[in-house]
């Protein structure tokens, strides 16, 4: 089973390294054909406007939409979360924390109250989540990681740390070991 990383631009190398460190077989996904070879996909951090435009040019946006609606597990970080907003009952605002000098790191609680160094870079905010969405982490009152069925998003970048817990969670999600509580 191969896990794809959307390789249009952004933190592709970092996600590939994290998934490989978890023991996964990883494939870069650039064109629709690549998508047929993977069982799940990670959408990295980057510039969501650029990624969206380039996906359209090859028809990858449509191919991906079909796969997501067909139940393929997908995880989006930062820009990835923005791109996945359309498939979830959430509302995301781009660059909502501000510009680069407002980027921040913070110790957050994740997976049963354990701490995690979350890195937010010109990050989006997850403003609203509806009932079907399982909230997995918060920073203060703000939702920063959540899941709806086969879709996982975080506004922070676990791929920029050596902490593999979020990637491991995603891999377990693919295997069906962590069923969504809300579904």
């Amino acid at each position: 089973m191969k896990i794809g990383v959307l390789a249009i631009q952004g933190s592709v190398k970092e996600h590939k390294a994290a998934l490989a460190a978890c023991g996964a077989e990883v494939l870069e996904v650039r064109v629709p054909d690549d998508l047929t070879r993977v069982a799940a996909l990670v959408i990295p951090g980057g510039e969501s406007t650029t990624i969206r435009k380039l996906m359209k040019l090859t028809g990858l946006d449509k191919a991906l939409a079909d796969r997501i609606r067909g139940g393929m597990p997908v995880y989006g970080t930062c820009a990835g979360a923005i791109l996945l907003e359309d498939f979830m009952d959430i509302e995301v605002e781009r660059n909502a924390y501000g510009r680069q000098m407002d980027s921040f790191e913070a110790e957050i609680k994740i997976f049963k109250g354990k701490s995690f160094n979350a890195i937010f870079i010109r990050a989006p905010k997850i403003l609203k989540t509806s009932k079907g969405v399982e909230i997995l982490a918060k920073y203060g009152k703000e939702v920063i990681m959540c899941r709806q069925g086969n879709i996982l998003v975080s506004s922070f970048h676990p791929e920029l740390t050596s902490d593999l817990r979020v990637h491991k969670y995603f891999l377990k999600m693919i295997d069906g070991q962590v069923p969504s509580e809300k579904c």
């Binding site: 952004g10 933190s11 190398k13 510039e47 406007t49 510009r99 000098m101 921040f104 920029l160």
Partner: protein, 293 residues
Amino acid sequence: MAKKKNTPLLKKGLAQMLKGGVIMDVVDPEQAKIAEDAGAVAVMALERVPSDIRKDGGVARMSDPKMIKGIMKAVTIPVMAKVRIGHFVEAQILEALGVDYIDESEVLTPADEEAHVYKGDFKVPFVCGATSLGEALRRISEGAAMIRTKGEAGTGNVVEAVRHWKKITRELEALTKMKADGLKKAAKEMRVPLDLVKSVAKEGELPVVNFAAGGIATPADAAMMMQLGCDGVFVGSGIFKSSDPAKRGKAIVEAVMHYNDPAKIAAISEGLGEAMDSLEIKDLETKYADRGV
């Protein structure tokens, strides 16, 4: 829950998000919009593109803050802006404006012949040019969070960017094979801390993202720099001094994404119109790459 801001990880992190992308020089909000629509991952605000600086002569300085603010308003992608080498007050001004990245650039007229800006003191991250590993590591030890080749800006001639990048990679490779004595000597020669040299030798790569810059004018130039191992490209005069900036900008963006697919690059390169006016390196009055080593 305490927030930490402006850490080295965050400064370097933004550059990591720009990888695989194209950063375009723009001189006004209209150009910035065109760049964003073409798929740029960031724009570089400056008062004149390098080829015009070459033509017009005179002292090239940081841009008018009003223009930079206009560009920051016009687009949602990160905005970078240039300061003269060593001009720490221009850097303070750009930080006050809240730009996302500062390029301490040899394209502008240097303000200090002895020293670069001490970038570690700033909240805003910096990118700097380099022609060799020593230069790259000196900039990193001053606090640069991203490196680019200097190339030779404003020429539309990629040869210097290729030269600088190959030199950096060759020197990196040599470093990985050195023993303790050699590393000590290399650190001394490059005038950088031994710890930095040791960690770079161990990793076999620079500790920050490195882009290609200086002379990139075509999709093929951009893809070539990517195939040589750069993380992304800056395009200066190459886009807005060509006959069809929107089309060429988009083509270069696509070429960087599909850099390993010659058939795609061929299709992308069709009918782009005229590239920018170009220059031979030997005919230049001033080589920008010699500034601030």
